[in-house]
Amino acid sequence: MDPRSAELDVIDTLAGLTLFSDLSRPQLEAVAHIFEEEVFPEGQRVIRQGFAGPGFYVILEGEASVRVDGEERATLGRGDFFGEVSILLGAHPIADVVAMRPLRCLMLAGSDLEGFLVGFPRVSYRLVQTMARRLQSATQWRS
């Protein structure tokens, strides 16, 4: 990728994700600088079940598999986020998240998540909305 267009690419990609859809352009730029970009080759674990200190990730590109004890429970794609549950609860992750093909993410340190969500309340709202949908799906699946 032409590095000159890459900066714009991250901001434009963020603008297209539901989580950040309420943010102004300067706020999107701030998010692009607050988060760090990381890539993971196919097969690499991003979050590890039972390991302390995970981050909060937002997928920009690629797909990831959520696995509990090696068994796949869900797949995640562009715009999906993960890692927030263990950070919010102060617990170790209960699943691995594994790159199914080259995965490009934005990452925020777990200790920075609270400050970020407080500083960007519209992102908090979108995050809660998505978590509510996940809860609804899980509830429907169980019933």
């Binding site: 590095p3 352009r25 701030a30 600088h33 607050i34 690499q44 390991f51 200190g53 990452m107 340190a109």
Partner: protein
Amino acid sequence: MAELAPFPPGDYPLVIVGSGAGALQTSYSLSRLGVDHAVISSDDAPAGMFRRFPFFQRLITWTKPYSPMERGTRAYEWHDWNSLIGEEPAHRAQVPGFMDGVSYFPSRPEMEQGLVAFAEAAGIRVRYGCRWESTERREDGFVLGTTDGEYRCHTLVIAVGMTEAWKPSNIEGIEDVPHYVETREGRTYTDRRVFVIGKRNSGFEIADGLLPWAKQVILGSPRPAKISVVTHSTASARARYLQPYEDAALGGGTFVIDAAIERVERTADGWRVHASGTTRPGAMTFDVDDVIAATGFGTPFQDLEGLGVKTFYQGRLPAQTAFWESATVPGVFFAGSITQGAVGLKKYGIPSSSAAVHGFRYNARVMAEHIATARFGIERKREAVDHEDLVEFLLEEATHAPELWNQQSYLARQVTVEPDGSLLDEGIVPLQQFVDGSGPDGVVIAVETDETHDIHPAMYVRKDGRVDEHLLEGDVQLDFRGADHQAQMTSVLKGWLT
């Protein structure tokens, strides 16, 4: 003359491109393992970026001439972040010998002298003045086109550093703004108002260096400044550069602004910077005499992306495996500051120290061992560890191993169980390779700093293919060899060893 220009164009098993700290360490470590290779560089002398930078001529990585550890020992390396690491005493701790006592951060010339001395003492040969210009991938390896001719090899190590001035594309008019590398001598900013774009180390370095000259300095970027004493990472702005931040906090005239820079334009008298606040929203305009883009650096990849080397971080870093090999083009490895692209576990959000010498010098040695084994069939001698010594051995590593302290949650010491039940010391390995890779039962010890700022040993134990994490307690004096730690570790290993 032949001595001055070794490695003429031709066939070599491995070629290293570069002559900075990463290239020198890689060549040194490969030579000690018996891996034949050539080293080429477009520079005309060793030391890479330290021949010119940091701009204000003082490093941000410490070398303590006097420390609790004896100079020249392995444990002393934790207190000397700038010397390259040698196997023989004459190759160790080169930098402190050149320091004049003004600061425990070496000056740029002291660092350069230390690297040159290392290269000379170790007999590292480099073909200088030989510029890498193109790369071709063939079935049996790579062909490098250079100003001196073609080099063919099956393993390539790129150690050219993140040395290319980089500016973001989303600021209108940024192309006319001088980059950090084009900063003028301090006195030329006398009584001028200067806007510095960027609040990382290079931005704060410029601001700090201009405090005695400029009448006002304004630092601006979208993200609030991150400070090393808060983040526990040398990747954040270092304490020694923070005078401008204190000046801003006290209302002394310096400003540290959280704003997206939208446009920079020339005016009759200087520059006008248009920005939009992020932490505190609102439009802002700054009329200044000078603007400097402290916006970071990229890697001069030449045509590697065309070969299929995947990059990220606005095309500035290559995606890498745990052993610093391209994730997409096998046989291409990276050394030096580029290895920060292999992020490892990044526990608690703390990055590795791979952007700096004190981190990447160890990456280079581990990578050389991996290359020697995986690509040249050279097996390292591994020492046996007695069962009754294992706990003491691992806790001594946690307390004093410089690799574990310089590369926390990133490099680890590994001991493996052989089929007959005996234990072998595998040396220093990438932590990620151990926890995500497969292999026989084993244990590694690492050092980690968590979100509460506690520094403690972390054990990872592999049994029957499953790896579990065991965090030990910290210690106020950072000595993990006492009875409590022995009891904790023994408890973890009890089930594993039986």
